[in-house]
């Protein structure tokens, strides 16, 4: 009887000290602060606006988290996002609804190609993923500028469906009312979550964690590690693609430069959400929590009436505290575990 109790206690302790849970705690605190600052935080229209504002970073962070779990980085995710909006608006013609379908297909193929190129550099050519994706980010930017030197372009009307169904002409009214409760970006996120859920139940998901945890061991176990790394970048690219659909739906235009600020925020979000910088550890779903926290930082600063000049500084400090907290928490957990480890 006794040993099972101790074991139960030990597993309980290891659950509590999981680094992810510190991020949940931070999230609750931040939501409370945001709700206190913004009276109508939880009310319908304002909540919808919040979800629309938060959605893209969530999608991008999930992609980045997949890449980081595999022990890689993607410094080109913002540039790739910009590129996809450029391709979409380059292909589409406002007066020909069918071009929307073509645009989606072509951009999807481009997204897969982007993932393969990044993965080829990191996986087969064995160049550091930071270097590879930093270099390719200029490639994506260059192609984007070639297609769309200045922001703009055309979009079919029904692309609004990725942002707000109420803006789509000829949409049945009951669907429009659905849109006022469940915004399309939430559905995009849900699609992303389902996509990841099935991957995590298949070999691919396990292999991403194995390669991120110890590439050499994974290779010796007969896993084609370079292929797994390519797959990780392609999955990431698909998440970026989903975010691009949302942005073109919202803005009805493309821009070769607007995505850049997202890149480092996705990495920060993933780390706050408990994804290890060294790979192999962390949950993709908790990365969403990280993205929510990073988003809330900006929201709180806005509603707290902090002057713009200091806003960035305050945001920086909060992010550092959040990341530092997550790291300390997990370091403490590890130390506690190693100290207790002896007689068995």
């Amino acid at each position: 009887m006794k040993p099972t109790n101790t074991r139960r206690l030990a597993s309980l302790v290891s659950m509590v000290v999981r680094p992810e849970y510190s991020s949940l705690l931070i999230l609750v605190v931040m939501v409370a602060i945001a709700a206190a600052l913004q009276r109508n935080f939880f009310q319908g229209p304002s909540l919808l606006l919040t979800i629309d504002a938060f959605g893209p970073l969530i999608l991008l962070t999930m992609g980045q988290a997949v890449v980081m779990v595999t022990g890689l980085f993607d410094l080109s995710s913002g540039a790739a996002l910009s590129l996809y909006t450029c391709i979409l608006t380059y292909v589409m013609r406002t007066d020909q609804p069918a071009t929307g379908i073509a645009a989606i297909l072509i951009t999807f193929v481009a997204a897969v190609a982007v993932g393969i190129i990044n993965g080829f550099g990191a996986g087969y050519l064995r160049v550091s993923p930071v270097v590879v994706t930093f270099a390719t980010s200029f490639l994506w930017l260059g192609i984007g500028l070639f297609l769309r030197p200045t922001p703009g372009g055309q979009s079919v009307n029904w692309f609004n469906a990725f942002y707000d169904l109420r803006n789509v002409d000829g949409m049945p009214s009951f669907l429009k009312s659905v849109s006022s409760v469940v915004p399309p970006v939430l559905i995009l996120i849900l699609v992303g979550c389902l996509f990841w859920y099935f991957l995590s139940k298949a070999r691919t998901g396990r292999y991403l964690y194995a390669v991120g945890g110890n590439e050499e061991s994974a290779y010796r176990s007969g896993i084609d590690t370079a292929r797994v790394q390519i797959i990780a970048y392609v999955i990431n690219s698909v998440f970026i693609f989903l975010a691009a659909l949302f942005f073109v739906g919202q803005n009805q235009s493309g821009d070769a430069r607007f995505g850049d600020p997202f890149t480092l925020r996705t990495i920060a979000s993933a780390v706050v959400g408990g994804i290890a910088l060294t790979g192999g550890r962390g949950s993709i779903f908790f990365a969403i929590v990280g993205a929510l926290i990073i988003n809330l930082v900006n929201k709180i600063i806005f509603f707290a009436n902090i002057p713009y000049a200091y806003g960035t500084l305050v945001a920086g400090v909060i992010v550092i505290v959040a990341i530092g907290g997550a790291q300390l928490y997990s370091a403490y957990g590890k130390r506690a575990a190693s100290k207790g480890r002896v007689q068995r």
């Binding site: 074991r7 396990r206 194995a210 176990s221 896993i223 002896v342």
Partner: protein, 505 residues
Amino acid sequence: MVKILEAKGIKKRFGGVVALSNGNLSAQTGQITGLLGANGSGKSTMSKIIAGVYSADAGEVIYDRKVVHYANPHEARSNGIAMVYQNLSLVANLTVWQNIVLGAEEKRGLLLDDRQSRELSREIVEQLLPGLDIRRTIDSLSPGEMQIVEIAKAISKRPRLLILDEPTAALELAQVKSLFSHMRNLAAQGIAIVFTSHRLWEVMEICDDTVVFRNGENVAQVDLNRDGRDPEKIISHITGETARTRQKTTLRAANTGASVLKVSNLGYGTVLRNVSFDLKKGEILGIGGLAEQGQRELMLALAGYYPETSGEVELEGRRIRLSHPAAAVRNRILLVPGDRESEGLFLRHSIFSNIVFPRLGARGHPLFTPFSKYKEECRKTIDTLTIRTAGLDMPVRTLSGGNQQKVVVGKWLSFDTKVLLLSDPAKGVDVGAKRDLYDYITRRVREDAMSVILYASDNEELVDFCDRVMIMYEGQIVATLEGEAINADRIIESSMHVGNRQEDR
């Protein structure tokens, strides 16, 4: 008995180093073949070529009556060749069962069938190490348990040829015995096994025949069943010298020396409890016991790795605080750590960089590094320790295990060492290099009255070199042996710590 494997005339070079010049090896179904040789003799390379990790530069591998060229381990494994690696091939963040099935997961349609995978893993683990929870992650296991998981992983693939590359290095005696009985079972089922170990008695006990490698080629094949089990003869094949009778180093006169390091009530969590001892000048103090009883942690604590320890440490009568590794180095308490690859070396850097590195951080280092002077010193170090290498600038990675260990010791050579901490220095080190190392250390002890604390997992080393031996059990020192009491029987007896167990609880 069928000859399932025959490798002929295998050659392999890594850059400028010839790992194998002419390797030959064969294995029969139902037989256990021992693979012996000093580190760097090419036996690991040989195993890895057969398992598809490396490809041979020349020669042919005949497996199952066909000439094979495997491009990767996966191909070899799908043909029934499984290998247990010297450096573990486990992924630390995954669980035991996830590791066992890694690369060959059970599937149902597109998705993983984890229930089936767990069932399979549990079955195998149950045979090898009953009671191990397969849901634990690898990073929470002891080195011995990890090794067992590694073996379970290889067996789970139902191989026809199983290559075990030093599987017993991290195991304690009981685990070795249980592994051996399982190996006999596998052999009885008709599996061919190739077994590598540095411990001669293990090969004597388990193997049917043995192949000895030296300097990249096989120099002898001994059928142990027919020719008898004579260790001296095999040692002479390994070293290439006529067997010399081992002489016991008797320097047991120094016990009367002054106290150098006095430790009282050292504690660290539950890992170290009330550790007290007094190390004399010119003494080699041994630490023994079963595996994982806190010996490694004691060495790390004395080297300043655990700032939160309780208790007192006095160096030559002066109280010191070992709050940081730099503090230990400043006090000339120098550690040769147990895991040389991750704790002792910069594997990709040159021998020179590795040896000179501690100097750069030492107090009183000149502003501009006198490189030519250091190079000269480094050359001397290489001579003194007989490190076998093509030059100062060779990456440490290219050296054999024994020579790597000499580099770790060489790091501290230029320091005026007061206390040298040796954490299992002969682990994974071949017979020749081991002799060089201990020759050097005993000479320093005799000539410079250096004091040494030696933790060795091999009791023979404790018996041969130590003036006193302390036995650790569950983080405590449970016995101290002196003089005639230092012999293998007494060490094993004290390690088990049979008496007075209730009092501890």
